[in-house]
Amino acid sequence: MVRHNAGKVALCFPGQLSRVPDEIGKRSGGGYDLPHPFLERAWEKAGFDLSSFLFQREEEDRSLNLKLQVTSYLLSMIAFDRYRGKGGQWNFITEHSMGIYAALAAAEAMTFEEGLQMTKGIGLILEKAGEKSPGGMAAIIGLEAEEMKRICAEVPGNLYVANVNGSRHFVLSGAVASLERGMELSLKRGAISAHRLTFTTPLHSPLLESIADDVHRFITGFTIRPPKTFLACHWSGKQLSDPEEIRNFLVEELYRPVDWEGCVQHLLSQNVGCFIEMGPDSALTKLIRWIDRDVKALSYGVI
């Protein structure tokens, strides 16, 4: 069981991984063979095999992002199941970007299977949108908010700040040519790094407003219940409690920016003293370290 000193505990569900972490393959002697009942259900319900990192149906297997989205969901849910199974406690559930689906399942607003199907279905809609009008995203580290806004305004075409992850950590989203120019300008103006993320769609930018109807239609088929834990979303920690409000969030969050810094600040103001990342990576843990060096933040891991 995870021990913490003082304050409340927030479980943090991260967004899409950029790759499957090596240690998962290495620990199991090659392949991503991580024994857990969730993986069998992923094969039955979504036709996805984590050990081979392949979808059963060839037409679903073409997209790296779709596979990474489903993988991220599965690994977050496995971490959560491990934590819960060992008697771990929590007061809040929060999420970053595509981490919302696992967060909803963990908060019992949806079942594991529903969360999985939603992750895959929205992933497919995003993939189609990316094929129709290609875009992308890039993480920029080192510059401040004003400079990021200036760069977006100066670059020709459509470029937006998609994530505010910290006072000097941002993600830009937009059309490919604008994004490349934005990265170039960021480095020229002193960013310590600018790197492309795997996304082929301009997620969390107004360019994705065009898929709102498709997403809305898709999620109509799902039963969403009120979360059993306080669910603080990536819109500055706003609480999601009403199923209808959650539906609207699931549509709108795809074309609106993530304010992770605001979310963490809000949870800190609610006396959270321990943040636990649910997944194999430590990206959110490191961002929390930047936002507040004194608060306890750790990644729980999946193995």
Partner: protein
């Protein structure tokens, strides 16, 4: 490479552990010439910004851009060399930070 002392190497390792809150790692675990990013300690660009701020605070040395950062953050030794080359140690001593 000149002017890099073992004492400075140890200080840089301590700075990395402290800034990145690497609670399970000791000075002895960090190999002076091993890569810091990707392999080795497996640091990433979020960690790099922490180190940039740490070097500014502790030694008064500035990493102006990504190009310089790539060269400086190759290993503990290249960080120590950058501090020496930019007279960072003297700044730290003058400020009473060392």
């Amino acid at each position: 490479m000149t002017g890099v002392t073992e004492e400075l190497i140890t200080e840089v390792k301590k700075l990395i552990i402290e800034r990145l809150k690497l609670e399970e790692i000791t000075v002895a675990d960090i190999i002076t010439d091993a890569p810091l990013f990707g392999e080795g300690l497996g640091l990433d660009s979020i960690d790099a910004l922490e180190l940039v701020i740490g070097l500014e605070k502790e030694y008064g040395v500035n990493i102006p851009d990504a190009e310089v950062g790539k060269k400086v953050f190759q290993s503990v030794r290249t960080i120590a060399q950058y501090i020496v080359d930019n007279h960072g140690k003297e700044v730290a001593v003058a400020n009473g930070a060392s």
